[in-house]
């Protein structure tokens, strides 16, 4: 606990300055940051040397829980959302199959290098499922999923590299996060959402 908690004025200042309502990140800015990181050229040697001089690695504790934590992270980050390269070979190879066809959605937006990203959602009784996110202005009708005979719903969307927040809309009304993807801490408008990271090739 911070020693500020013992002073009512400083304690309240602290709460004010920690209020998320005032400093909530813009999901677009977060995605733009990742895009910039991937796109930024590696600095020249003298720049790296200067940075190294200004940013020495800090000492600290090596963790004893590395293996367990790595397992946990691997568990949490696995998900049903994958780039096309990572899909089942049948689905990713090109020609659609009856078991797991790749349904490409049309997408209108600025022309940047986009990566085919497949969304897969399981819902046995839904009449319709669509995906909404920061990439389609959360429009419920923009990206409908196609129902497969095995009960899965799927659509493949070309997305720009970066971080995207999304959710599924069931029967046009119920908005749910992807149960097999990391939760977004900054869901738009208070709605629950999930995160997909799209990497440039």
């Amino acid at each position: 606990m911070s020693d500020s908690m013992q002073d009512p004025v400083i304690s309240r200042v602290r709460e004010t300055l920690r209020s998320e309502s005032a400093t909530r990140p813009d999901p677009v800015a977060v995605a733009r940051t990742l895009q910039t990181v991937w796109a930024a050229p590696r600095p020249v040697w003298w720049r790296r040397a200067l940075d190294a001089w200004r940013m020495p690695a800090l000492s600290g504790l090596a963790t004893s829980a590395v293996a367990a934590a790595a397992l946990l992270v691997g568990f949490v980050t696995r998900g049903a959302v994958q780039t096309r390269d990572a899909l089942d070979p049948v689905a990713a190879a090109g020609p659609a199959t009856e078991e797991f066809p790749v349904q490409f959605a049309s997408y209108e937006g600025e022309e940047t290098a986009r990566i085919a990203t497949q969304f897969v959602f399981e819902h046995a009784t839904a009449q319709s499922v669509s995906v909404v996110g920061d990439f389609n202005a959360w429009e419920a009708d923009a990206l409908p999923l196609t129902r497969l005979p095995n009960g899965l719903w799927t659509v493949t969307v070309p997305l720009p590299p970066g971080r995207h927040v999304y959710a599924y809309v069931i029967d046009g009304t119920l908005v749910v996060a992807d149960p097999r993807a990391p939760k977004a801490g900054d869901a738009d408008y208070g709605r629950e959402g999930s995160v997909v990271m799209v990497f440039a090739r």
């Binding site: 911070s2 602290r14 209020s19 309502s21 400093t23 977060v30 990181v37």
Partner: protein
Amino acid sequence: MSDTPPNTSIDPTLPLRAKAGDRQAFAQLVDLMYPRALRFALHMVGNREDAEEAVQDTFVRVYHNLGRFRDDARFEPWLFRILANRCRTALGKRNRHTQLIQYGELPDRVGAQSDPERDWTEEVYKVLETLPAEQKEAFLLRHVEDMAYEDIAAVTGVGLSALRMRVKRACDVLRVRLTEMMQDE
């Protein structure tokens, strides 16, 4: 306050995986640390545009220098050291927020709130703006980011006794300027 994000520590394996070339791990680091980094930058530089730029520059530099990150080091102080440098650079360049304060306008970071709460928040930001940058930096790292003085020393490169004095002076100013307002509510 229910919407206060926790200052949780990150999984120490994430930076190591990112250093080993795992892009997903680095993306997770950004996802986890962006809110705290933006909060600190926003309070330091006073406007969202400069703060987002400082945070973005920070993550780019972190990514390009991951190879130099020691395996036994802690990631958060390292990131905040880079971020604090970017904020100092941004502070040297900007004057827009100062103009806003001088003309009595409310910074855009203040959301819709009831009037007493809004007045309080505005006053907190105004007093914060009057603090010397080194005092504000030390105060934010200690009392908002909950960092230990040893970590703040690593971030700022300043000795412990000097840091404690900076934090104390910042607290004194905030207390003097805000106690009366708090009692009036």
